[in-house]
């Protein structure tokens, strides 16, 4: 299947977890994948893996909170591939901190990594997609904790809740130009971020009492949702939120 043949797709946080898996899946569908992250070795490894299996990928260093880095990612992509069709704003980080014990500095850092980074991705992605005027798809990787609250996760919930409405506002503003913006809300997934999450809880007990499907998601399952949203199978979907949480937030 080569549903994404010729599409140029930027994926942030592409060095590991959902971002790495999405990079591999989208490349296997024919996309030119531009994957970014701060950990160069990991990014290069994903790039190599894709190229070795016949796909097209390019790693670019990026701190998603830096406007200069966004400018560079967009310019490099256009220079090498000609245009931008989609941006997957996947980079993010998680932190447990109690309201009273947490520092403002850490709170702001979580907002920057998850929300401000996504805003810049929306802004620079839109600029780039507008250059060809044929529309495109922007995917925001929020979290189930962008829809429901969790004790000791105020910063993450605030940031991911912000991402959810950032996507909807973007969808309203950019719809007439056929630039679609959607958010996805993964539950507990088999990734490093969820390891951080699980540091604070008894994981098997947590899964048993909170996840109706009684298991974590795989990164591949989340990547398939991203694939759907950047493909032409979702051309009438914008401003939507896809919750992939094994039924966690249905109750």
């Amino acid at each position: 299947m080569q549903n994404l043949k010729g599409k140029n797709i930027i994926i942030t946080g592409g060095g590991r977890g959902i971002g790495a898996e999405a990079s591999r899946l989208l490349a296997s569908e024919g996309a030119n994948v531009i994957l970014t992250c701060r950990t160069k070795e990991e990014g290069l490894l994903v790039e190599k893996g894709i190229i070795d299996t016949g796909g097209s990928a390019k790693y670019i260093y990026q701190d998603v909170t830096s406007e200069n880095d966004w400018d560079n990612v967009i310019k490099s992509t256009i220079l090498e591939f000609g245009r931008v069709d989609s941006v997957v704003n996947n980079a993010g980080s998680f932190l447990w901190q109690s309201m009273e014990g947490g520092s403002l500095k850490e709170f702001k850092n979580i907002i920057d990594q998850n929300l401000t980074g996504s805003f810049l991705g929306l802004k620079y992605g839109t600029k780039a997609i507008r250059m060809h005027g044929e529309g495109g798809s922007i995917v925001m990787v929020s979290s189930v904790l962008g829809k429901v609250g969790a004790a000791n996760a105020t910063a993450f919930c605030a940031a991911k809740g912000g991402v959810r409405l950032l996507a909807k506002s973007g969808a309203c503003e950019l719809g007439p130009e056929k630039i679609r913006v959607n958010s996805i809300h993964p539950g507990l997934t088999d990734t490093d971020i969820s390891k951080t999450f699980s540091d604070g809880v008894d994981e098997s007990q947590y899964i048993k009492s909170n996840i109706p499907l009684n298991r974590k998601a795989t990164s591949h399952e989340i990547a398939k949702t991203i694939l759907f949203l950047v493909s032409d199978e979702s051309v009438f979907i914008t401003g939507a939120e896809l919750t992939i949480d094994g039924g966690m937030s249905a109750r």
Binding site: A167, K168, S169, A171, C172, L174, G175, P176, K178, R180, G187, P212, L213, N214, A217, T218, E221, I222, K224, T225, F228, E233, S234, V235, F236, I237, T238, G239, A240, E241, L242, T243, I244, D245, G246, G247, S249, A250, R251
Partner: protein, 255 residues
């Protein structure tokens, strides 16, 4: 190789619009498809379209609010193709009428098709469904927000939205996924498409939608296929509405 090879699917309301498009797409992806509806002639047309490329389909005349009729659909499906993997509860009814002009009979009628029909479909198919199966309930954008003169429709679709989540929790242990899909304005016979609707009405809906277009049955069918093939999504909502729900507060023309 299709995405649904060896799967058995039931699609209700498949004599036109979204249901017909879905029955065709699921069959194209390799599923054996039982498609149902009230209009036998239109059912035959859907069947003709499918039989051009797949021998594995069957039409069963169906009034979804009738329990005995549901039992018949399920038994015929089981007998011909085996246990069920996919149910698409698509059949639905729509009317616009102010509350003061709506009779209790009108209200009960729309609820019996949209709510009872969906509930009966889940009840009788779940008995004969393979573990790991998938149910997609077609709710509506109007199952999430209000519309003047549509209290009956909104009430019935709101019920579909909620019972989808309850049912999903109930059968998660069997790894059966149940999700609600919320179409926005899709240009089908139910809302005035298919030759009956005026261009003015279509333009009105287009301007009200952030993407500045109305949906096509294919857009919804593609999303149904996605929900049928996803493994970790359950008790969830998928809007296929061109951005209408996201734009609820302001209206897309607001600055």
């Amino acid at each position: 190789m299709g995405k649904l090879d060896n799967k058995v699917a039931i699609v209700t309301g498949a004599t036109s619009g979204i249901g017909r498009e879905t029955a065709i797409l699921l069959a194209r992806e390799g599923a054996a498809v039982v498609f149902t509806g009230r209009n036998k002639d239109a059912g035959k047309e859907t069947g003709d379209l499918i039989s051009q490329f797949s021998p594995k389909s069957m039409f069963v005349p169906h009034e979804v609010s009738d329990e005995d009729n549901w039992i018949e659909v399920v038994q015929k499906t089981k007998k011909k193709f085996g246990p069920i993997d996919i149910l698409v509860n698509n059949a639905g009814q729509f009317f616009l009428k102010p509350i003061l002009e709506t009779s209790l009979d009108d209200f009960n009628q729309i609820c019996s098709v949209n709510i009872d029909g969906t509930w009966l479909g889940m009840k009788h198919c779940l008995k004969e469904m393979n573990d790991g199966g998938s149910i997609v309930n077609i709710s509506s954008l109007m199952g999430q927000m209000g519309l003047p003169d549509a209290a009956g429709y909104c009430a019935s679709k709101g019920a579909v939205t909620s019972m989808t989540k309850a049912a999903a929790l109930e059968v998660a242990g069997r790894n059966i996924k149940i999700n609600a899909l919320h179409p926005g304005v899709v240009w089908t016979p139910m809302v005035g498409g298919g030759g009956d609707g005026s261009d003015d009405l279509k333009s009105f809906f287009e301007l009200e939608t952030p993407l500045r277009e109305v949906g096509l049955p294919k857009n919804i069918a593609d999303a149904i296929l996605f929900l049928c093939t996803t493994e970790y999504l359950t008790g969830s909502d998928l809007n296929v509405d061109g951005g209408r729900l996201a734009d609820g507060a302001m209206g897309s023309n607001a600055i």
